[in-house]
């Protein structure tokens, strides 16, 4: 019997996945950012829209990340960026999940030609590199935050549709669902009570991992000029301003560092979640 179930060689009391190592750092970072974003108006060092000092001053003790071309404090603006970028990402993910769930669950549950048609649609949408499709949609609708939001949701929902569909199909074949169907429970009830709750774990894992990528996409679109635009304190837009005054490096550095911190945090969490659940990314 060479394939013995040998006990795991290293003894470590296992903490829940979201609290281990890197994930812990990630979770704390996210919480810090959330608190900052929510409470910032109460304690903001400077006004993000009004000049606070001489223009284009390099970082100093007064202004931790210097001032920009209009004299606004860069550090403050970088913090304020969280109040734009984070909610945008949240909205995009929430709506993508909702839309993806509806489509995916319908496809998985109803099967047949509905499934085939919907999945074709998903496949086609996923055949585009996300940024190109987002750019196309946003420029067609007209640049601006609202349209960028719409574009991103349209780009992102197929991932969740595929994921949901796979989960729905898998769960539906389980016996407790079959027995529910056998006693004549209405299909929608089965969907809501049995299938969806089980299907949600991988969705949550993916949504967490995606959060960072959506923040990146938002910033990218803004950088190109299709999303939030100056004077908005969105990180991507700030980097655009920073690119103009290239030699005043702090103007671009601050928002970039902010993005990295946020995305890294979510990536840490996502990595740890993925390690512990060993979720083979079904939708990708």
């Amino acid at each position: 019997m060479s394939t013995i179930a040998l006990p795991a060689p290293r003894a470590r009391r296992r903490r829940p996945p979201w609290l281990r190592g890197g994930a812990l750092i990630g979770v704390i970072s996210v919480l810090v950012w959330a608190i900052v974003a929510l409470t910032l108006p109460l304690w903001t060092p400077f006004d993000p829209t009004a000049p606070a000092g001489p223009r284009l001053m390099s970082p100093s003790w007064d202004h931790l990340m210097g001032t920009d071309a209009l004299g606004r404090d860069v550090f403050t603006r970088a913090l304020w960026g969280s109040r734009t970028s984070l909610p945008i990402a949240l909205i995009v993910i929430v709506f993508s999940v909702i839309l993806g769930t509806i489509v995916g669950a319908a496809a998985g549950f109803l099967g047949g030609w509905i499934d085939a048609v919907l999945m074709r649609f998903v496949d086609i949408t996923m055949a585009f590199p996300p940024i190109l499709l987002a750019m196309a949609i946003t420029s067609s609708l007209g640049p601006g935050v609202r349209n960028a939001l719409i574009a991103m949701v349209l780009v992102w929902w197929p991932i969740y549709a595929r994921l949901l569909r796979a989960q729905v199909i898998a769960v539906r074949q389980r016996e407790y669902v079959e027995s529910a169907e056998a006693i004549g429970a209405p299909r929608f009830l089965i969907l809501r009570r049995y299938v969806l709750p089980m299907a949600y774990t991988p969705v949550l894992v993916n949504a967490t991992m995606d959060f960072g990528q959506v923040v990146l996409l938002t910033a990218s679109l803004s950088f190109i000029g299709l999303g939030a635009r100056p004077p908005s304190a969105e990180w991507g837009a700030m980097i655009t301003e920073g690119a103009v005054s290239f030699y005043d490096w702090w103007i671009a550095a601050a928002p970039g560092i902010a993005i990295i911190l946020v995305v890294l945090a979510f990536n840490f969490i996502g990595d740890a979640l993925r390690d512990s659940f060993d979720v083979k990314e079904i939708a990708r």
Binding site: M1, S2, T3, I4, P7, A8, R10
Partner: protein
């Protein structure tokens, strides 16, 4: 009729070993293997003594969790994260604690091991010939390709694989389970080892194929004067193919002896239970007997003899201390009760 008499006489049994060659090729003394788990220490092997003599076939028998595989894996250093103490000598050289580089030279070349599942034991993306070549070159680094291939074909012939040349270039998924196991055996004997450890080599195979593989192993044993250690839970295989048997339970050897006496007059209650479980064609049984209770867990061993909870002979003394191997007619058994009875019988025997 006893089991010993009912089985088909083995004409092809290996002759008793030449007394001159009585030096064991593998000698295990007081081997302990412990794993640290989240739930505490798991003592998988607790003081095992074994001897393997050149050219003989030793069966190590026991149920899942008895420690039989772990013992062999430990002496080859193939266990990760386990604490191994005690002694395991190959021809006098201590294997426990040996560094990997030197162990590597012993693995496959002096002491070889084959495993249970031929489906997963071969790499699916490499050809048979390539995998054989890798094993050969691991111990003879400069071997030219042509010679490696010729030897590979030769080996495949030896393990009775037809069309050896063609099979050399096949991939594992193109072969049947039985053939894959033969390939594993070929890999194991490629470097002419002295000892071949076979860990449940036939468990994953059909019954007919099982017989063929066991016959192959016996033939190879003869031809190469191999010592064979057969790890199995299948007593039927043991009867026809081995010279001596060691029965393990809960990480210790509880009985050991030559095959005939052990099957004829088993000393340990566990051995008796195992033999009683063997279905017999020549006797009528109304109920299939089994050993009551469940095997012990290496994480929580009962005090005293680990078999006591399931033993119908158990007395008070059995939970006080763990019995050591003691003579029982012609075998050695670790049981207070049966060895005492046997000793009494010896005294009172005419």
């Amino acid at each position: 009729m006893t089991a010993a008499e009912a089985r088909v006489d083995r004409v092809d049994r290996v002759d008793p070993v030449d007394p001159v060659d009585r030096e064991p090729v593998l000698q295990v003394r007081d081997l302990h293997v412990t794993f640290s788990t989240g739930a505490g220490d798991a003592r998988a092997v607790r003081g095992v003594d074994l001897d393997v003599f050149p050219g003989e076939a030793l069966a190590v028998v026991g149920e899942s969790g008895s420690g039989k595989s772990v013992t062999m894996l430990a002496l080859l250093g193939l266990l990760r994260g386990a604490r191994v103490t005690g002694s395991a000598r190959y021809r006098g050289t201590e294997l426990v604690g040996m560094d990997v580089a030197r162990l590597r030279q012993i693995r496959g070349a002096k002491v070889s091991m084959i495993f249970q599942d031929p489906m997963t034991s071969l790499n699916p993306v490499l050809t048979i010939g390539k995998q054989l070549g890798l094993v050969m070159r691991a111990h003879e680094p400069g071997m030219p390709k042509r010679i490696a291939r010729a030897r590979a074909i030769e080996l495949l012939d030896q393990v009775a694989i037809s069309q050896a040349a063609r099979r050399c270039d096949s991939y594992p998924h193109e072969l049947s389970g039985g053939m894959r196991q033969r390939v594993m055996i070929a890999m194991a004997i490629a470097n002419n080892p002295e000892v071949l450890i076979a860990d449940e080599p036939t468990t994953a195979l059909d019954v007919t194929v099982q017989a063929q593989i066991m016959e192959l192993l016996r033939d190879l044993q003869h031809e190469h004067h191999l010592a064979l250690v057969l790890i199995t839970h299948d007593l039927g295989v043991v009867a026809g193919s081995t010279d001596r048997v060691a029965v393990m339970y809960a990480g210790r050897v509880v009985e050991t002896g030559a095959v005939d006496p052990l099957f004829g007059h088993p000393g340990h209650p566990y051995t008796r239970g195992l033999l009683a479980c063997l279905p017999r064609l020549d006797e009528r049984h109304d109920i299939q007997s089994s050993i009551p209770g469940i095997p012990t867990s290496p994480l929580s061993l009962p005090p005293g003899c680990p078999f006591a909870p399931r033993c119908s002979y158990a007395e008070a003394a059995c939970t006080d201390a763990e019995p050591a191997l003691a003579p029982h007619h012609q075998t050695l058994a670790a049981c207070f009760v049966t060895t005492r009875v046997a000793a009494d019988q010896e005294v009172t025997a005419p």
